[in-house]
């Protein structure tokens, strides 16, 4: 009886929120103010903030773009957790016996272990070269996560080659988010704009260079904090995707 009452309450709440969401959706559809192109804003506001347009597009606002992608990933992890994480979130799924029904073949056994090394290395190369070549933190983190997928699919969780426990995933995600947050705050402190690109060349420190000179953004050929943001995002994306894989592998039909 109590279950029935709580279910009715849940349905009522869902209906109310659906109504509110529908109202705002319809309201925004009829009162949509079209901005004349994103490039208009870029051209108008960009050079007032950053040294030039190249810096604006390639470096400063790219960090915002990545921040949005990271939020999408967080939403995906939450959604997967809500839909498939029943019974998984309470404990460490890596301790569960999720050995594949079919044992790995000889080819899988021989090639998986070396491939994990190579895939992780390629992912890190993509991450570290992301500011001067095609790639970046998101792509690099995704590639590293595929090493986790490969070993989980072939060996299961208990005998996994690339084994990251749930606690370590949390730590990696926390470190990645902190790197991003702190670097963004440095930009805020220096220029008044969150994630503003600043100089990050630390090796002249100790030879008469002050902190203010260190954080001064030299020119548009300098990557500034972007490589470090890439590392933070790679850790975050890696842990996000691995969490999704963990939740999906540990999902049980009850």
């Amino acid at each position: 009886m109590e279950d029935r009452g709580s279910q009715q309450m849940r349905n009522l709440l869902a209906a109310v929120f659906l109504g509110i969401f529908s109202y705002f959706l319809i309201h925004s559809m009829f009162n949509f103010d079209i901005i004349p192109g994103t490039s208009y804003i870029y051209n108008l506001k960009g050079p007032l903030i950053a040294p030039n347009m190249v810096t604006v597009v390639l470096f400063d606002w790219r960090a915002y773009d990545t921040l949005g992608e990271a939020f999408i990933l967080i939403t995906a992890v939450f959604t997967t957790g809500i839909l498939f994480g029943r019974g998984v979130l309470g404990g460490d799924v890596s301790q569960k016996d999720t050995t594949p029904v079919r044992p790995p073949t000889v080819v899988q056994k021989i090639f998986s272990a070396p491939l994990v090394f190579i895939i992780v290395a390629l992912g890190l190369v993509l991450t570290l070269g992301g500011h001067i070549t095609p790639g970046g933190g998101f792509q690099g983190g995704s590639v590293i996560a595929t090493a986790f997928f490969l070993s989980v699919v072939v060996f299961g969780f208990k005998h996994n080659v690339f084994s990251i426990s749930h606690h370590n995933l949390e730590r990696l995600e926390g470190i990645g988010a902190l790197i991003y947050l702190c670097l963004g705050l440095v930009g805020l402190a220096v220029s008044g704009y969150y994630l503003y690109n600043v100089g990050a060349n630390i090796y002249p420190l100790g030879v008469g260079e002050t902190l203010q000179e260190l954080l001064k953004y030299p020119d548009s050929t300098n990557a500034g904090i972007i490589p470090y943001l890439n590392i933070g995002i790679a850790l975050k994306v890696l842990s996000g995707f691995c969490t999704i894989a963990t939740l999906l592998m540990g999902a049980e039909k009850k």
Partner: protein, 82 residues
């Protein structure tokens, strides 16, 4: 990361960190030989990608970052790999 040395050090550190998550159950001498052989092959084929240069302006004919990461992964596995 504005110098090659800085990138190599960061690559080594990240390699060590991720290498600690790689377990040793399926690794033997042949596996390590395969990893090293494949790595050298890929390293040479990558060339100077991703185009970091020494301070003297010379580009390395091999990918120093890739090599550094592989060394870091091997060290990390030796340290923390079960």
């Amino acid at each position: 990361m504005s110098t090659l040395i800085g990138v190599l050090v960061i690559a080594l550190v990240l390699g060590v960190v991720l290498g600690t998550f790689i377990r040793g159950d399926y690794f033997n001498a042949k596996t390590y030989a395969t990893v090293v052989g494949l790595s050298i092959f890929i390293d040479v084929m990558m060339g100077s990608f991703p185009f970091y240069t020494w301070e003297i302006g010379m580009e390395l004919p091999v990918s120093g970052i890739f090599f550094s990461i592989i060394v870091g992964l091997l060290i990390g596995k030796a340290i923390g790999g079960k």
